[in-house]
């Protein structure tokens, strides 16, 4: 695992799609990071685990 991926694992890697946007499926990313594709779920997990979040916006479509 790369150093960046390792560091990302100590945070919650979150793409900032919201509950309102659930009808539009998230374009998932391949790789070693376990991304959370829902911002509110990311927040809940951050609360539970005490981790900070790494929130990414990407417009690739």
């Amino acid at each position: 695992m790369s150093r960046t991926a390792l560091l990302a694992a100590t945070m919650l890697a979150t793409t900032a799609t919201s509950l309102l946007a659930e009808k539009i499926p998230a374009q998932k990313v391949d790789g070693r990071i376990d991304w959370v594709y829902d911002y509110q779920r990311g927040r809940s997990l951050a609360k539970q685990t005490g981790k900070p979040m790494f929130v990414v916006f990407r417009c690739e479509r």
Partner: protein, 327 residues
């Protein structure tokens, strides 16, 4: 961007990639992303990302979120769907997906409808380069170089200085600095705290009209909202093609490959024409830079001359832009 709270997530919407380090209470530690005219990935690299991640982990342990007055509140929920022109923009799309740049396009169109749009509004999220500061892409709180004759030189900023804060806001990255600049008025004095040789230094940058502009904003998707376009696409001729057509190496030479503007067809421009001058511009430009010219310098209803080569002959046509924007 569908459903995203714009009162919380504010960034350069002309970008295609941006990131934030946050806690579970919607507060920010740092921002990472942003770009300069030089390229979309000018300040995106593994070294700087790893560095800021380590810094954020340290800040998280101490609960040191950003607290400055430039932080968004996120309290009044505002989504892209609420920007009035957005509904019509996404109605035509099969997947109804709102892209980052759509947020800015819709915002500018809304301002234009209300006669509140100024061309300068396209220059969002200025970077330290606008002040004359080249940020080290790998250590983004360090000054790599200072351009002579700029606000940075006049404020005494030097190569190697570490930027601690801008207007009281912690700076770890280019995007952190850019966030403060976005909220800095057109005419302002910007306090900057630096570290040099272990000493803390405070200086002030004096900013005057026009400081937000950059030389080449052609990468900005939203540019077409602020001025008329030529309604065509093309490509820059290769050196070999220029030699064959006896065109100079460092002058404008764009072969038209596609036309979509009715005003372009009315001007008599055809696919295959080679454009060698646009109004008073004949410097070597990419197609994006070419299309940006009238958007930045002309207004709807203007008529400009375009010089082109067709089958070995040079000719001048006149292009009249639509009288009103066509959304």
């Amino acid at each position: 961007m569908n459903g995203i709270n714009l009162d919380l997530f504010q960034f350069e919407f002309d970008l295609t990639w941006m990131s934030f380090f946050m806690d579970a209470e919607n507060r920010f530690y740092a921002r990472y992303g942003g770009r300069e005219d030089s390229g979309p990935e000018s300040h995106l690299n593994r070294e700087s990302l790893t560095r800021v991640m380590n810094q954020v982990l340290g800040l998280h342990e101490k609960h040191q979120v950003q607290t400055g007055r430039h932080e968004p509140s996120g309290r009044s929920r505002r989504t892209p769907e609420q920007i009035p022109p957005m509904r019509a923009m996404i109605a035509k799309r099969k997947n109804k997906c709102i892209h980052c740049h759509d947020v800015k396009v819709a915002t500018l169109r809304d301002l234009r409808r209300g006669n509140r749009l100024r061309r300068e509004m396209v220059f969002t999220y200025p970077t330290p380069a606008n002040l004359g500061i080249a940020i080290d892409p790998r250590r983004q709180d360090h000054v790599e170089a200072v351009r002579p004759g700029t606000p940075a030189t006049r404020a005494g900023i030097r190569r190697g200085d570490r930027i601690i804060s801008a207007d009281g806001q912690r700076v770890l990255t280019l995007a952190d600095f850019s966030r403060v600049l976005e909220r800095t008025p057109t005419q302002a004095t910007l306090p900057l705290t630096l570290q040099r040789d272990g000493q803390s230094i405070t200086t002030r940058l004096r900013l005057s009209a026009g400081w937000r502009r950059t030389p080449d904003p052609s990468w900005r998707e939203s540019l077409h909202v602020v001025g008329p376009g030529c309604g065509l696409w093309g490509r820059r001729l290769s050196a070999k093609e220029r030699r064959r057509l006896k065109l100079p190496a460092r002058k404008l030479a764009l072969k038209v490959t596609f036309i979509w503007g009715p005003h372009t067809r009315r001007a008599g421009i055809r696919v295959g024409d080679v454009i060698v001058r646009l109004d008073n511009v004949d410097g070597d430009l990419t197609i994006k830079q070419f299309n940006a010219q009238p958007m930045l310098n002309n207004t709807w209803g203007d008529t400009i001359p375009i010089v082109l080569r067709r089958k070995g002959r040079e000719m001048t046509v006149k292009m009249t832009f639509p009288r009103q924007p066509v959304d």
